[in-house]
Symmetry: C2
Subunit: 505 residues, 2 copies
């Protein structure tokens, strides 16, 4: 690379957030562009002091954004590196990434070896892949499939590029639900139960990716979740458990990058899914893991066969990392609890924890089952003992007490907000609930504003098989603005069937 | 979709060229972003008057770029639609593209049907796919492969979304070389020969994608190539032939979009390659087509087996469109002629056309072979008759005369430029040329500035098997600036072997 002075430009902050991909904005008549032949989409190396990063060139014309001798970098890089502006940057051609030829190999059917996956994931974590490269890697893994051994290597590579929490010899219990079921917010209840029983459960949860609420979004309406590792450790040492946002502890940075592209593609292949889940568990130090796989026509896992396949893959890969697992297949045919959206789900969680008379029994039942399975797994006790203990711990108020202490330790318990506007959808005729479309229900909650507006979402009032009267409320949309409410109702009233009401069977 | 006034923003031109993907720049605190929940990477529909387009959201923070109520669109859209600025735009959620679920089907192994491919290609041509989606489509086609019938449907779909030139009942002859061989600039010579023989050859050529020169780049140093269809037609009616840039006649817009992403991925799978080549030939109205497939270790096609496979696929798909083909496998082990880069290649072409004593014989030979095969194919004459006619037409000056007339008709013949700086690489010891790395040679020419700097490139002086003396010139780099010359020499002298010199065999 030529390091001549002529390659130097002055950095200007433009405030453009290009999200995943780092973009270098350069004038199309810039001397560096011309002398180095930096066309659109060229991947370049940018050196700023001791920092070196990879960016994609976007040309800028005219004098609006950049003066001669100036260049801009997208916002993510500014936040990460704390520049002040006016820094001098040096731009040079990027050598071809070796790991991309391994991605091409996978496209054409070659198995990926451990060192190859390690190279690929290191380059991804270092943000050297453009969105085009990330999409090709994910698509190749989906189309060609990943063997168990490849998935183990992928998982290990993801763990290697992130932080890893060491809990010494303590048994660390954890649970994970392979999403897709609105309102299925068992995590805080499970943490409260097992922590109250003396087990250590330092839970890191995600924010919503495509759903109306992630566990972290819901929990944030009750307590701070943005804890760094040191604070998280203090909470766990004090209370045996926590429920924090995994993103702030940077457990699997490559996975976070890949997930953004998977979301745009709406693909989620088994190998990537398993590596994504387990890399975060391994990094978090988990030793005992219960996996909840809800199965239903409109859930993420659509058939028992798919659940068997995914469950076996999860168990095999977890075994390779000495994590003990229990897999629980659950009913994925309808939402869990009533609320869908951060604050509405928090309300359901609180009602189960403090044993309110109107608490949703399905949510309670699921939480107890998972907590019980986790206790059995960690204790190596006979099946059933854990379930009984979990139920008692919930019903005698010890779990509720523990939950409040955890919230206090995380920074103080809060009251979930409620929304300013509500409107109900009513049954158009008498009949029986034949089916519920989970995906459309989730979409409706998102259109109402969830998860960005915590109070927004949907309260869902009916169950499969329930007998309905004409005019009875099916669901209530909660929104913070009248416009958002109308926007959501456009979707529900005019276009899509969420609840199918038929003749009694 | 809600069409309320509250979704309206005022358009501001920012001058940012994001190339393939249309980007909508919105303030992160913009009321439309907040009310519609438009996160980073959200794909949205933008309505401006009667125009509707699809864009990807990029958030902008602070007041540098956008004031409240303003939004920006990337430069490509401005150029296409001729806005003045201050237009009112309406932003709304984009319904999921149906064709993306068909791309997902292909990822997971489903065959693509004709209507599905038609949907996919229509959405691509309408710029509804993000780069992530384009990369997934290309990767899926490469990983899962395309059957002949899928490739036929893909080709047809690409033709359907572009312009198509109708030449009535005239036989239209054409040639295509499946690239990868520096300096292999036979096209202008072939056009001149066959047009002088009375055949109609309205040649549309590409600019360089990854090479140091495309035929259009080279031809542009001799005459204008930016002709619209009407002007191209006038040239052909007058002279039987032309050599113009295909991009200005918009023959396969979906292919142009896909090629940009293939370039970033450096993948070029057979199905896509065949559809890319043939869609442009069909759109150009070709009826008789000679395909040149150079085979060599560092050429695009690396083995005879690959050439057989690709040749068969090209023939089968061409047959489905009633195009007569002849496939010629040629030697791809070393560059053709001497010059590599637009002006240097033009110089070689001219020397062959006007029968200069030092004209490169390999370039002449290849051009005569292809022109001869084309004449045989179009005449249905016995093999050999065409070759003899082609050679005579070149050597008696009729081809040179025709070439000058074509240049005049295209807007006037020009003198190719020459570069300001030259430096030669010399043999480090006595020996024999054992191998030549075409890819590194092409890279060197690009580092020197080709094709953006037309005079830049490489003159290559030696042939395989040639006996060399220590200090003899191997190649000469031509550059327009001293910096570019040094930059190119950094690559050649310090790091990469382009010419391997060994013991006599």
């Amino acid at each position: 690379m030529s390091n001549t002075k002529s390659n130097t430009l002055r950095l200007k902050r433009l405030g453009i957030d290009t999200h995943g991909e780092t973009v270098l904005f350069m004038r199309d008549d810039c001397h560096v562009c011309l002398s180095e032949g930096l066309a659109q989409h060229t991947r370049v190396q940018v050196d700023i002091g001791q920092t070196s990063l990879v960016a994609t060139v976007n040309h800028v014309s005219g004098n609006i954004l950049l003066q001669r001798g100036e260049a801009g970098l997208s916002e993510h890089a500014w936040r990460q590196h704390g520049w002040m502006g006016d820094e001098l940057i040096r731009v040079s051609h990027l050598d071809a990434l070796n790991s991309l030829s391994q991605v091409r190999g996978k496209i054409f059917g070659k198995r990926l070896t451990q060192p190859q996956l390690s190279n690929i994931i290191s380059d991804i974590a270092a943000k050297k892949y453009s969105n085009i490269h990330l999409a090709a890697f994910l698509t190749a893994c989906a189309a060609r499939g990943l063997e168990i051994s490849e998935t183990v290597d992928l998982t290990q590579s993801m763990v290697d590029v992130g932080q890893r929490i060491d809990w010494g010899n303590t048994k660390i219990v954890d649970k994970h639900c392979v999403g897709g079921l609105p309102g299925n917010r068992t995590t805080p209840i499970v943490v409260a139960i097992v922590a109250a029983c003396g087990f250590t459960m330092p839970k890191t949860s995600s924010r919503a990716i495509t759903s109306p609420a992630g566990t972290a979004d819901m929990m944030e309406t009750l307590a701070p979740v943005d804890l760094d590792i040191a604070t998280m450790r203090r909470v766990v040492e004090k209370e045996n458990g926590c429920i924090v946002w995994g993103g702030s502890v940077d457990l699997s940075p490559a996975d976070d990058i890949l997930i953004a592209v998977e979301r745009a593609l709406e693909i989620d292949s088994e190998g990537q899914l398993v590596a994504s889940i387990l890399s975060k568990k391994i990094a978090a130090g988990s030793t005992h893991l219960v996996l909840d796989l809800p199965v239903g026509a409109t859930a993420k896992i659509r058939s028992l066969k798919d659940a068997e396949f995914l469950g076996k893959m999860l168990r095999d890969v977890a075994n390779a990392f000495d994590i003990k697992t229990a897999i629980i297949q659950s009913d994925g045919s309808q939402p869990v609890g009533r609320g869908i959206g951060p604050a509405l789900e928090a309300r359901d969680v609180l009602s189960v924890l403090n044993n309110a008379v109107d608490a949703p029994q399905d949510l309670k039942q699921r939480a107890v089952t998972l907590a019980g399975a986790l206790i059995d797994l960690a204790e190596k006790s006979k099946s059933g003992g854990g379930n009984q203990l979990a139920l008692e711990t919930l019903e005698n108020g010890k779990a509720w007490n523990k939950f409040q202490r955890i919230c206090d330790a995380q920074g103080g318990m809060r009251q979930p907000p409620s929304a300013a506007y509500h409107q109900s959808l009513k049954a158009a005729h008498n009949g029986v609930v034949h089916s519920i479309d989970n995906r459309r229900l989730a979409k409706l909650a998102k259109l109402a504003g969830a998860p960005d507006v915590p109070a927004a979402g949907v309260d869902f009032h009916v169950r499969l098989g329930e007998v309905l009267q004409n005019g009875q409320d099916l669901l209530t949309v909660h929104a913070q603005t009248k416009a958002a409410l109308e926007y959501a109702f456009d979707y529900v009233s005019a276009r899509k069937v969420i609840v199918e009401i038929g003749e009694p069977k």
